[in-house]
Symmetry: C2
Subunit: 240 residues, 2 copies
Amino acid sequence: MAALDSLTRLTERMRSATLFAGLPDAEVQRIAAAAHLKQMPAGEYFFLQGDPAERIYLLVEGRLKLSQSAADGQQALLRVIGAGSLFGAVALAQAKEYPVSAQAAADSQAVYWTPLELMEFVKKSPELAINAMKVMAEHVQEFQDRYLQLATERVERRLARTLLRLAAQTGKKTDAGVLIDLPLTRQDLAEMSGTTLFSVSRILNQWEEQGLVAVGRTKVVVVFPHGLVRIAEDLPVKKE
Amino acid sequence: MAALDSLTRLTERMRSATLFAGLPDAEVQRIAAAAHLKQMPAGEYFFLQGDPAERIYLLVEGRLKLSQSAADGQQALLRVIGAGSLFGAVALAQAKEYPVSAQAAADSQAVYWTPLELMEFVKKSPELAINAMKVMAEHVQEFQDRYLQLATERVERRLARTLLRLAAQTGKKTDAGVLIDLPLTRQDLAEMSGTTLFSVSRILNQWEEQGLVAVGRTKVVVVFPHGLVRIAEDLPVKKE
DNA sequence: CGCTACGTTGACGTCCCTCAATTTCGGTGG
DNA sequence: CCACCGAAATTGAGGGACGTCAACGTAGCG
């Protein structure tokens, strides 16, 4: 029954993904049945930047870091994703190589299809293609936005945005505030915000003094989100 | 016969666009026949950021600037495109609004379809969907790259890349070097590189002294591309 | 209990943004 | 054709944000 359980759980996850939105249940189940399973312990990689792009993945359990590195080793942490998210979707667009690396931030399991397998389903269900375009269009927009921000905003603001985004994505309500449920080093936050770990450290401590956040080693709790929003929106920080 | 001429010219343009690659000629012609024409004098806009996204355009003649602006008026010039390029493709992904503004940099003409019209063709030709995904995947990658560059590189390098990209895209060979065939102010170049017009001015003049470029008002000629490449790659600039 | 990765803090430098004052260019109309 | 105007561009001074580097804590893990 384990197999059956996992299959029903899979179709559930799939239904929550934009890619499969609006598809008839029967079709989703057929696609689920064609999926392959892949487990990955924390710290290891589903694929590395430059690997041949021969699989489209859906994360079923765990957390992933998607990062890109330049020739000189400089890195950017582009996104962090949780269960229900697609990754490696470029393979569907017949890209030759993955443009990013996908590292498991926690023990994770994902299912995957080859481009050929998914393509069969695309031919039967054009919605699938539309949905894939939606996913990609969202990404284009997200990066255009972040590009603009990086070009025009200062570090504080970008870091505030990063934390708010993370809180929204992976936030876990606790009595102390919203915990970002993912071990993130200062370096990680720096790579997500386009700055250095030193600046992140200074700013976070400053915010802690102001009661906006509570920080620990690889841990951040957003205590007073509205304060961060004010910083992100570049409004004067309210005092009372 | 003007109509016939323009139709054959249109199908030619379409064939050079990734979106229609690999489609049977007959199908391309059917799609061409369904296109609507739109002329735009230099300086005016095909659409503004925030306008409802109800058309997918193909530029047939002229040049376009695609730019995005933040709430506070800060701008980024995301891309400059020439004939044969698609724009407003997000409409295909059923986005509600255009995320950028599209301004004619020269007198331009474009054809367009509504999402509904193109969708009909998508249903018949899944290749069209695949191609659309390819186009979008390319954009995602481009912006991921540029994001990384903006985050990790200094102004000189970014400006060098911008010029090289422009020279490759819109370059026109002259005996003095490669002319960037498009009136671009220092401000425009600044917005494309994520810096200020002052920095652009200083750097360009410095490069002119070194014989790398020749600059004029709203005009840049790349005289010694290899020198710019060295800067873009962060190698020491060769002297002889 | 010591090693290692993570984090903090200070000093310092510099890149590049900001702002203001001019100059140059190109077009337009008298 | 020249004078004039506005947009584009230059140049300099000044300062501030933030990156760089070094030295030092500190927490967690084997």
